[in-house]
């Protein structure tokens, strides 16, 4: 097989770029990584993602792709080893449903809890906890969303375990409740301990510092 050129434009602290790194690692795909300076985006990034101007962008044989969940599906279809999605259409639909749910319903309230203050923050934290509890139901009692091994939803949503905990630490409100969502809590722990997952994670102390700084900026901005 001819050597393929795979390039990933990302940011070290971005969980969305992390998803793509995990997927490429799982499938053993070699790639060239380009770190973007987000306050100063490269012409290459703007050319490859004119619609959103965001990372991650995967470029394969000079063809760019944006939106991390779309990129995950592409990676899964292009490289068939260690599949992310199951074979059965109904199971695939469930996986897509939960990945979308995590992005649409879990991530925004966690981010809102991170960036707001007072009553708005409390409301966001409450919503985050409720929706994380709903996400737990998608596990259906399994160890991972993918069953015995990691799959699509694990890679799509597993990072929330780390980020939500970090957010909780910074804002002083617990978002992942080990008592009311024990299965989700266990899943986050198991997922983040998987060797190749752990290997790709950004250094935790650097990430915490970075997020603390980011929090200061965001809460200074919101009145």
């Amino acid at each position: 097989m001819a050597e393929e050129s795979v390039k990933l434009l990302g940011y070290w602290g971005s969980p969305f770029a992390l998803r793509v790194k995990w997927a490429l690692k799982l499938k053993g795909i070699q790639y060239h990584y380009v770190e973007e300076d987000l306050p100063n985006k490269s012409p290459m990034l703007l050319q490859y993602n004119p619609v959103y101007k965001k990372i991650p962008v995967l470029v394969h044989d000079d063809k760019p792709l944006a939106e991390s969940l779309v990129i995950l599906e592409y990676i899964d279809e292009e490289w068939k080893q260690n599949p992310l999605l199951p074979i059965d259409p109904y199971e695939r639909a469930k996986a897509r449903f939960w990945a979308k749910f995590a992005d649409d319903k879990c991530v925004p309230p966690v981010m809102a809890a991170f960036s707001k203050k007072g009553e708005e923050q409390e409301r966001a934290a409450k919503e985050a906890r409720e929706n994380l509890k709903t996400l737990e139901s998608g596990l259906e009692g399994k160890r991972f969303f993918g069953g015995e091994t990691i799959g699509f939803v694990d890679i799509a949503a597993g990072w929330i375990g780390c980020w939500a905990r970090m957010t909780g630490e910074i804002i002083g409100i617990n978002l992942i409740d080990a008592e009311t969502m024990p299965l989700l809590d266990a899943w986050f722990q198991d997922f983040l301990e998987v060797p190749f997952i752990k290997e790709c994670m950004p250094p935790q102390d650097k990430l915490l510092e970075h997020n603390k700084e980011f929090h200061k900026i965001l809460t200074a901005a919101s009145t």
């Binding site: 619609v51 792709l65 592409y74 279809e77 259409p89 109904y90 639909a93 897509r96 449903f97 709903t134």
Partner: protein, 232 residues
């Protein structure tokens, strides 16, 4: 093989119509259940406990929710008349634009048509500026779609595909919003390709048979959201 396919939807919803369009394209028989969205049925709440929304496809008792997820399920379950191309990059492209339409276009269109209709005189200038901004944003978004169409007859190429179906909001509902609110967004001079596509799209049998009556839809949106943002 006895197969039961149910679709829970609403007559005016582009999202449930998408599901029906895909099933129709593939010649799949199904039973449609019209939901009263102000009084949701126990069945709907049972089949979609997470979002409690339509559409829901129930195939042999197994429910699938979220219209784009349903479209992919339909394509993977019934292999005739595929709505996604074979090439992974082309598939990713279709998914990207379908997501773009749902996540960026709809809310921008609504804002341009009905967002912030301040009645007070002193707020009028502010409302005008907001309205102009919203219209400009829709224009930029539609331009992306215009460029994506290139010289193709449909987004899917020679035949209607997943992206065309997902773009039903642009191909039909947008025209309805424009007429209901009086705001012009999809003009022929700025978007000739997109306009041509919309005309072709609504003529495809499987699509045409699944479009709600235009007048009824216009009346519904006017009634629900008011006369709209059109500058008098």
């Amino acid at each position: 093989m006895a197969e039961e396919v149910l679709v829970f939807g609403a007559w005016g919803s582009p999202f449930s119509r998408r599901v029906e369009m895909a099933l129709k394209l593939k010649g799949i028989e199904y039973k449609f259940i019209e939901e009263d969205l102000t009084n949701k049925s126990p069945s709907l709440l049972k089949y979609n406990p997470v979002h409690k929304k339509i559409p829901v496809l129930v195939h042999n008792g197994k429910p699938v929710a979220e219209s784009l997820v349903i479209l992919e399920y339909i394509d993977e379950t019934w292999k005739d008349h595929p709505i996604l191309p074979k090439d992974p990059y082309e598939r990713a492209n279709a998914r990207f634009w379908a997501k773009f339409i749902d996540e960026k276009c709809l809310s921008a269109i609504f804002k341009a048509c009905w967002g912030a209709c301040w009645g007070e005189e002193k707020e009028h200038e502010k409302a005008e500026i907001e309205h102009e901004k919203a219209v400009k944003e829709v224009s930029e978004l539609l331009q992306f779609l215009e460029n994506e169409l290139k010289e193709k007859r449909y987004f899917g190429g020679e035949t209607v595909g997943l992206l065309d179906i997902a773009a039903n909001t642009i191909g039909y509902w947008l025209g309805v919003f424009e007429e209901a609110s009086g705001v012009e967004l999809l003009t022929r001079e700025k978007f000739p390709k997109l306009c041509n596509w919309a005309n072709e799209f609504v003529c495809v049998t499987a699509i045409k048979e699944n479009l709600p009556p235009r007048d009824k839809l216009i009346a519904y949106f006017r009634n629900r959201f008011g006369a709209g943002n059109a500058s008098k």
